[in-house]
């Protein structure tokens, strides 16, 4: 697939109530590598199969939730092009200086009408870890992956108001498409959007309160690894939400669980390959339960209301 402009999810920065508990969770359980702990307290993490320096940033705060979600672009000229398109749409775009996060170049950012901060950047240093993916005659990994063996930070699901406007901005300014959507009698309940040929890179569900995080997802190899993750969740008495199960939407195989600050995590495998010429898949209010939880075939209270 030819892909220019925006490439993929690049960074998620989340708030945690206790950074040491969060490190144990994300490194020892989910399996990320601790890249660095900086003077301002932020902690930088990388999944074992990611080439670049970091993808998950933890910031200790007195509330949980999302600071921002950032997409990586192919070059700085594309970032400037996105700035123009966002400003022409009428959004206020701000700048984050190069080096505000170690190894990361200049970023631009804006607030969505759903109350979330989205950023775009082009440059991030490649990982200098001895366990970074190899490029010459590569092994599938250098050191065997830890914990749930998360390969990459994959996507997030955000909750907030005005998701019709959010969809318009992501389509018109950032070249996203919407492979799947949930339409209920009073309008759009959810949109699953992609800028690549993954089934989703980001999703939004309509909700009264702005700026909420539903989950942050990590990609695993396959259904067997989802089962292994479930074994770890029980062994370490982690707070499980739902699964192992499958989503009808995206077809991903999944478990939902919570980090020690209540931020929901997903480990996810599979999901279909998407191309832009595929017609959108639409779920109605009678079938949304099967869309979200394919085996249970009903929504639970937590999916719609437990957020950070």
């Amino acid at each position: 697939m030819s892909q220019q402009g925006l490439l993929r999810p690049g960074i998620i920065q989340i708030r945690v109530l206790d950074v040491d508990e969060a490190i144990t969770h994300y490194c020892d359980r989910v399996g990320l590598e601790l890249v660095s702990r900086e003077k301002d307290g932020r902690v930088y993490l990388r999944c074992f199969d990611e080439f670049h320096r970091h993808s998950v940033v933890l910031r200790e705060a007195d509330r949980a939730g999302l600071d921002f979600f950032a997409f990586k672009a192919d070059c700085q000229a594309s970032v400037e092009e996105f700035r123009k398109r966002l400003e022409n749409y009428g959004l206020k775009v701000d700048d984050v200086a190069s080096g505000e996060q170690p190894g990361v170049g200049a970023r631009i950012g804006f607030m969505t009408p759903s109350g979330h901060r989205i950023e775009i950047f082009a440059d991030m240093a490649l990982s200098e870890s001895e366990n970074a993916p190899e490029t010459k005659n590569p092994y599938i990994w250098n050191a065997e992956p830890k914990g749930m063996r998360a390969q990459r930070m994959d996507h997030c699901l955000l909750y907030g108001p005005n998701i019709d406007q959010v969809e318009k901005i992501f389509k018109e300014c950032l070249d996203f498409t919407t492979p799947e959507r949930v339409e209920v009698p009073d309008g759009t309940l959810g949109i699953w959007m992609t800028v690549s040929n993954k089934a989703h890179d980001i999703a939004f569900v309509r909700h009264d309160e702005p700026g909420k995080l539903h989950h942050l997802a990590f990609f695993l190899q396959d259904w067997n690894d989802i089962g292994y993750a479930a074994d770890l969740i029980t062994r370490y008495d982690m707070s499980r939400d739902l699964g192992p199960t499958r989503h009808g939407i995206t077809r991903g195989q999944t478990i939902y669980f919570f980090d020690p600050s209540g931020n929901r995590n997903e480990v996810f495998a599979g999901g279909y390959t998407y191309y832009r010429d595929q017609p959108p898949r639409v779920w109605d209010h009678n079938n949304v339960g099967r869309g979200i939880f394919y085996y249970e075939r009903k929504l639970n209270d937590a999916f719609l209301s437990v957020l950070t």
């Binding site: 705060a61 509330r63 009264d208 309160e209 702005p210 939400d241 929901r264 937590a302 209301s305 437990v306």
Partner: protein, 113 residues
């Protein structure tokens, strides 16, 4: 176990306002997990980690201690009034609690932390 010659019970009794059943909870046990184990329905179960606010309650009477919870759901003023997240609540005596879940609060989310 004795403290100053008095016997201190290992288990505390938790009562929920309006619920005729009483629940048993250890002093080193989170109240929400004791309630969840008893399959009660009055207090909602969410993240169980102090972040989402689903299990918010007010302690009507009794002694207790808490660990860190999101200020999105319990402000310092509310904490002084007995509001807590029951997933961060440990009993130090018998407790009476009432469910105090609040649906989305738009204003709080805008406050800087």
């Amino acid at each position: 176990m004795t403290v100053s010659g008095q016997t201190v019970p290992q288990k505390c009794t938790i009562r929920i306002m309006g619920d005729p059943v009483s629940y048993s909870c250890g002093r080193d046990q989170k109240v929400l997990l004791a309630l969840e184990g008893s399959r009660q329905m009055a207090v909602r179960v969410g993240c169980r980690q102090g972040g989402c606010g689903a299990c918010r309650v007010r302690v009507v009477s009794g002694q207790y201690r808490t660990t860190k919870m999101s200020v999105d759901h319990v402000t310092p003023e509310e904490r002084a009034q007995g509001f807590v997240l029951s997933c961060r609540l440990f009993p130090e005596s018998d407790l009476v609690i009432e469910p105090a879940f609040v649906s989305p609060k738009q204003s709080r989310n805008q406050e800087p932390d």
